[in-house]
Amino acid sequence: MIWGVLQFPGSCDERDALNACEVVGDEARLIWHEERDLSGVDGVVVPGGFSYGDYLRAGAIARFSPAMEAVAELAAAGGPVLGICNGFQVLCEAGLLPGALLRNQELRFICRQADLLDDEGNVLSIPLKHGEGRFYAPEEMLDRLEAGGQVAYRYADGHNVNGSSRNIAGVRNEAGNVVGLMPHPEHAVDPLTGSIDGRKVFEALEKYA
């Protein structure tokens, strides 16, 4: 499949995401935030970083970009969309994913390796790095997400360093083709730089292409 990796002013991890798509055997190209046409692309990664400097609120400006209009259409058509860190924040701001990301409980940026659990109970070692990664949603919405199988990734016990509700690290939409998470799977694809467990996060979405 061919991934498009969005690039906003202030994106930081777009090259890492491109590299990760290639490591898992897919093709990938950068999509400038002003591009409205996603033809030729099967799925989209909204990468990490500080789009538009995170001014106003993380992801609040990027969601209005022309490329995000096209991403919403792709998502509605059932195409795979993966939001990582700032990309997760953008997808929440755009209403493509439920919930919101708040300041970390300890009020500091934090960068470290963390253990995540996927649906099947696999433990994935993936780094996280963010200042606003505390997943929040109202209690009834959390109940609904859990009942509907929309919790995609949870922090293992002792690894919820930002204070996320119910240890939630990542969620998916009802159809399952849009996934967002705070940890960085694109930084877990090379044994030399840490682990390779992040590949599973990309591979899990390939079936929607």
Partner: protein
């Protein structure tokens, strides 16, 4: 005749300006001269000494005088690097001071066409029991994180010491590493009469006015709060756009030359570009995009607003350049032209408001000889915090818990250390940071070091030791040094003792680099670092970049396997001079033994080759806190205990105390197969295993649980966090 004094110029300097100009300078010209003739820009007390440093080598691509130094990596690629201080701004306003320190060093590196791939920092504060130090530490760490994290450049390492002499004058030195195709790199010299001068990036405001002269070139003292307006305010988002914009412009070959706007703003960037290219430049201040209307021409010329770059562009290319700036949503304006006049001329709406010969402005500042005098005795005082009669176990715990030795996890966890996918060794997992470079098929290692306390004991030997420590750190990950840069942080050079410290330290730096064959490709000098109680410890911070052929072949600093032998390698003869234990016992005094540079270099080569060949399971250099701390650190990181007998050091003339806790250059703690270690010439001192750290040296011995050692080493978190202000930033 008093305006010039307020701007930091002496009467004789002013008279020299009048002589060179043939008239009294006007207000615009005086403001510009005062900045370019400041210590910060003119290096007037250090330039004569810096000439001693060896700067040539077969791998040098760019040396001193460029925005950053660079060395060849093979395969058509080069690595650029530089360290710069932002000490006084950080002492006045730590968050913005440190943030803009990072911003400035990033610009220096992308100004030569290299993409920043890593940041490191070297920090000094007063003791952590001081509220002021905790405030400065918290602000500086948040500032460094805020800027670096937001711009997507990983912070891969650094060092930090807490010492009383930095209480009033903290040090914030930031380093940036860049990676470039050698053919895409660009110099800072203006060229081509008739070419356009284009200002790119942020708008120009009234922030940072007089930063280089008022703040950076004078001692701190009472009323420094009033200097806050001289501290610049950073915007990493703007920098991120300018960075990508400049790299795209250079890749497309659209720029003749490029220079960042740092200290002294447009004045120094235009002046230095004109001087390097031996041309003149006319600048029309009415064309400079302003943050606020009604700025005076002198304010526009000296503003230190951040995130700005100055480029020389062929006239036919200006539209294309401006279109790319627009794509990156950053300002651009054609503000001037390269001339053959040899003058910098400042115009406002076509009327000349300043006109100075480039030679006088940029290179005309008088250079001063120092009047050095060694102090009669130790001038920094002593304070006993650990009884000399304490038993060895509690001594080791006290050393591991010393903030300068303890784990810096609290700090580095606040930095993104992985963006860019190059970080092979994360902070505290090896003695040097290791970055893979798939493009050139190899990797680099970086280390930054400088122990001011030891330099205070003996500036020449102390500086040699700092260079050796860097070389040893590189050896531990299998890297061979390619080049060195430095940031010389000292007190007031007009006073005899700081002058002596500076003079001796530069001589030591030159001697060590000469003997190791490592070229000094750049540097920065920060003087007048003093508080009410006197100068800071003389602190030459040195940073070395090395090359390793295979990023998969590096050694961790922690032990790896139960049952491995532990070997001590190198010409290590520890003493108490300038050590952490001498500090804690209140026994600091002048003097530091002469290091044997050649023998340390040989040991480095042995370790390097062993690491590359995969013959050792771990490698860690013996540094602060001596062998006992080095062994404990390798155990704590691994979660495995160790047993060692240091009796054999007695043959080198060491007392049991010196063997355990003494310090000195040249020591490596290796672990691995016993026969392999013996074949390397290592002295086998013990074995990895168990849940305790058991050390013996003659009549002194100690046993502590790994859990207790770990708790002591992890104690910085609580000390640093205790009453730090809640962060106000994102």
């Amino acid at each position: 005749m008093s305006a010039h004094r307020e701007l930091g110029l002496t009467d004789s300097e002013y008279e020299l300006i009048v002589e060179k100009m043939g008239r009294e300078p006007n207000v615009v010209e005086l403001a510009m001269f005062s900045l370019l003739w400041s210590e910060h820009c003119a290096y007037k007390h250090s330039k004569k000494l810096l000439g001693k440093l060896p700067s040539d080598g077969p791998r040098v691509v760019m040396g001193p005088g460029e925005n950053a130094g660079a060395v060849d990596l093979g395969s058509g690629y080069a690595v650029a690097f530089k360290v710069e201080s932002h000490n006084h701004p950080s002492a006045v306003e730590p968050f913005q001071g440190a943030a803009t320190g990072v911003g400035g060093i990033l610009r220096d590196v992308f100004a030569i066409g290299a993409r920043p791939i890593a940041v490191l920092d070297s920090l000094r504060f007063g003791e952590l029991d001081s509220v002021r130090s905790r405030h400065l530490l918290d602000g500086a760490v948040r500032g460094i994180g805020h800027y670096g994290n937001s711009i997507g450049v990983p912070n891969v390492g650094g060092e930090i010491y807490f010492e009383e002499p930095y209480e009033h004058n903290c040090l914030v030195n930031a380093m940036c590493i860049g990676f470039a195709k050698t053919e895409d790199m660009v110099r800072a010299a203006a060229a081509g009469v008739g070419n356009a001068v284009v200002l790119m990036g942020a708008t120009t405001g009234r922030d940072g006015i007089g930063g280089a002269s008022v703040l950076a070139s004078a001692e701190l003292g009472e009323g420094d709060d009033a200097k806050r307006p001289t501290v610049q305010v950073g915007d990493p988002f703007e920098e991120s756009k300018v960075l990508e914009c400049c790299l795209e412009l250079l890749e497309k070959g659209l720029l003749v030359s490029l220079q960042d706007l740092g200290a002294a703003g447009l004045t120094s960037s235009a002046g230095e570009m004109a001087s390097a290219g031996e041309v003149g430049i006319d600048i029309e201040v009415a064309k400079v995009p302003l943050r606020e209307a009604d700025m005076e021409p002198f304010e526009i010329m000296v503003s230190e607003s951040q995130e700005r770059m100055l480029a020389v562009v062929e006239p036919s290319r200006v539209e294309e350049v401006r279109a790319i700036c627009a794509k990156w949503q950053t300002e651009s304006a054609e503000i001037g032209v390269v001339t053959d006049s040899g003058h910098i001329r400042i115009l406002k709406d076509g009327e000349v408001v300043g006109d100075m010969p480039v030679e006088a402005l940029v290179d005309g500042c008088p250079l001063y000889d120092l009047a050095p005098a060694a102090p009669a005795a130790w001038i920094y005082g002593n304070k006993e915090t650990l009884s000399p009669s304490a038993d060895s176990a509690s001594t080791l715990v006290a050393l591991l818990a010393a903030p300068s030795i303890a784990s810096k996890k609290w700090i580095f966890q606040q930095y993104d250390s992985i963006v860019g996918s190059r970080t092979v060794r994360r902070p505290e997992s090896a003695d040097a940071a290791v970055l893979q470079l798939p493009e050139s098929g190899n990797a680099i290692a970086v280390s930054i070091d400088g122990n001011g306390r030891k330099v205070a004991c003996e500036p020449f030997n102390g500086t040699v030791e700092a260079v050796l420590e860097c070389a040893q750190n590189l050896a531990c990950v299998g890297a061979e040094p390619l080049g060195l840069t430095n940031c010389l942080n000292f007190g007031n050079p007009e006073k005899p003792v700081p002058a002596w410290q500076l003079d001796r330290a530069i001589s030591g730096l030159a001697a060590a680099c000469e003997e190791l064959g490592v070229p000094v490709v750049g540097g920065n000098v920060s003087l007048y670092n003093e508080g009410p109680d006197g100068p800071i410890y003389p602190t030459p911070v040195v940073a070395m970049v090395g090359e390793l052929p295979d990023p998969a072949q590096t050694a961790p600093s922690s032990f790896a396997n139960e049952g491995d032998a532990i070997g001590l390698l190198g010409p290590f003869t520890p003493t108490m001079h300038g050590s952490e234990i001498a500090k804690q016992r209140g026994e600091l005094e002048m003097g530091l033994p002469d290091p044997n540079v050649a023998a340390v270099a040989d040991a480095c080569a042995t370790v390097r080759e062993a690491v590359r060949a995969g013959k050792v399971a771990s490698a860690h250099d013996v540094s602060d806190g001596g062998l006992a701390c080095a062994l404990a650190e390798s155990s704590i990181g691994a979660g495995i205990g160790c047993r060692a007998d240091l009796q054999d050091l007695r043959e080198r003339g060491c007392t049991p105390d010196e063997a355990l806790f003494g310090e000195g250059p040249g020591g490596f703690v290796l672990s691995g197969d016993r026969t392999e270690l013996e074949a390397l010439g290592a002295l086998i001192i013990g074995e990895v295993g168990g849940t305790t750290i058991e050390l013996a040296a003659g009549d002194r011995s100690l046993v502590i649980g790994l859990t207790d050692a770990t708790e002591a080493w992890r104690s910085l978190d609580a000390k640093a966090e205790s009453d730090a202000e809640p962060p106000a930033d994102a």
